[in-house]
Amino acid sequence: MKIIVCMKQVPAAATASIDPLTKTIVRTGRNAVTNPFDLYALQTSLDIKKGVGGTVTAITMGIPAAQKVLRDAISRGADDGEILSDRAFAGADTLATSYAISLGINKLGGADLIVCGKMAVDGDTAQIGPELAQHLGIPHVSDVSEILEMAEDHLVVRRVWDDVEQELYLPLPALITVAKGQNLPQLPTIPGMLRGRAADIPTFTAEDLQADITRCGLKGSPTQVVRTFTPPVRGEAQSIDGNEAEQAQQLVQIFREVLHGTD
């Protein structure tokens, strides 16, 4: 089976910053890490490869330094990695990103299975996977937590949504997004690290992909950030005073407010 796993480099939590002019996330490549959900996606891919055979290729889009996530993937067992990198891709929202990645996947001759992390921790959108599936015209299942059955032509997967658990049959080619579940990422080995370091990582530019430039990067992104601000911080606790009966009444009122209207 030919598997492509999509990965993203994200800022390490403590060091994220936002460019005051473009309002987009600053990626310097320092203190950047592989999106944690993508490690689960990678592990799921490796598990499937182990089960039915095949290859796992990691793909990412980003600045040249983002190839670090591909080396990381190879050190954990991926066969190879390709990076999509071009100034034209910069500032992309989910629509423009998923468009570029769809071209990258087509450039690699497509895949039987495409695996994405459930979401990236810097954007929290969870949209790349489904948008990518739509661009490629293939079915997808979001939030997969376990692969129950694997074969050359189909998967049976499990997902858990709030209060419901589903088992789904998914014919290939298809795309899945992977939640944190049974697929606990394994750590690289020493030989793996050395392989990752030595690997040859090809770069694809917008031109290589014959991309429509108007659909790429900031230009191809319909959403624009107009403003960012820090949310109000949690203030000091509000004291509930009075005698015990009065306190009880106030508590009942708070319960109503807090629990009202949540799903």
Binding site: G123, E131, P139, S142, D163, S221, T223, L259
Partner: protein
């Protein structure tokens, strides 16, 4: 069908089982104001058949029309057929704004719609408004794990799409409305290739990490028999009992209820801490709680620093009175 105008504000209303999810109604409540401000009609969109009572509730919640797409492909609520059906409706009627509840399903299928329509989609918004100058939808969402908020707009492509987090907007009071039919539109698309083999409801069982409401007890509860009060409150609220480590160590509570660094991390909507001082090991496990009410005798207890509401006092009489008050209400 001629009553469906182009350039409208659409709210996708998700059905679970046979019931409308509250988030769709919450969105209609907010969208009603947005529609009035921007002088657009407001339509509720439902995929698959729903009862006439539900249609009426959507009208009563502010929808000028209810668009109901029906077809055998929509029997199972899955990403691809639902997306295909909404894509075809949107292509036909060209809404200006399309809002979707950010439920797991909403977040799984709405991106396909956005990709097909080549438009922007803002994920998991917590606030919506209309820009007075441009008339554009302003979509505000948390970024960087909630450390920052971003306001986003979709200037050039249509519809302007956003998924909106459940529970952040209030439910609207239903209005008096005449009983009218939904506008039913046949969807002839394919059921898609994914098959739902099995669906089971999950009982939350003993694991408190998923619990939405937790009543937690600490050493300040005093004697073991007082835990009955904690259990009673949890039962009344439909929640679960949590415990700090000393109670587990003393054998008062099972390990499965232990909250903190060496127990479970919890993220409930409501956490009531009874007699918990808030040792750093405990606080490490409650960072995700939305509303925290703390009851403790010590006014300097660290738990109060992370609480939204506090009662300085013995938790036992507070609990007793609270249970009584809840019985009376």
């Amino acid at each position: 069908m001629e009553q469906i105008k182009k350039g409208a504000l659409w709210v996708f209303c998700e059905v679970q089982g046979k019931e409308l999810l509250p988030v769709g109604l919450q969105l209609l409540g907010r969208a009603k104001t947005l529609a009035e401000e921007s002088n657009r009609p407001l339509y509720a969109v439902v995929l698959g058949k729903i009862s006439q009572d539900s249609v009426k509730l959507l009208h009563a919640s502010g929808a000028h029309e209810v668009i109901c797409s029906v077809g055998s492909a929509l029997d199972e609520k899955l990403e691809q057929p639902y997306a295909d059906s909404l894509i075809s409706l949107a292509q036909q009627f060209e809404p200006d704004i399309l809002l979707v509840g950010a439920t797991p399903f909403g977040r799984a299928f709405a991106p396909r719609v956005a990709a097909a329509l080549q438009t922007g989609l803002t994920a998991d918004c917590t606030e919506l408004s209309i820009d007075a100058e441009t008339g554009l939808l302003l979509q505000t969402r948390p970024a960087f794990g909630g450390n920052m908020m971003a306001t986003i707009r979709t200037a050039t492509s249509r519809p302007q799409m956003a998924t909106v987090r459940p529970g952040v907007l209030p439910l609207p009071e239903p209005m008096e409305v005449a009983d009218r039919e939904a506008v039913t539109i046949q969807f002839d698309g394919q059921a898609g290739l994914v098959k739902l083999l099995k669906e089971t409801a999950i009982s939350r069982g003993a694991d408190i990490s998923q619990s939405k409401i937790i009543v937690a007890a600490g050493r300040g509860i005093g004697q073991k028999k007082n835990l009955k009060l904690v259990q009673a409150l949890a039962d009344k609220l439909g929640g679960q009992v949590g415990a700090s480590r000393p109670l587990v160590d003393m054998g008062f509570c099972p390990y499965s209820s232990q909250i903190g660094q060496t127990g479970y991390s919890v993220a409930p909507d409501l956490l009531i801490c009874c007699g918990i001082s808030g040792a750093v090991q405990h606080l490490a496990g409650i960072g995700g709680a939305k509303t925290v009410i703390a009851i403790n005798t010590d006014p300097k207890a660290p738990i109060f620093a992370v609480a939204d509401y506090k009662i300085v006092g013995d938790c036992v009489p507070v609990l007793e009175n609270l249970l009584k008050a809840m019985d009376e209400n």
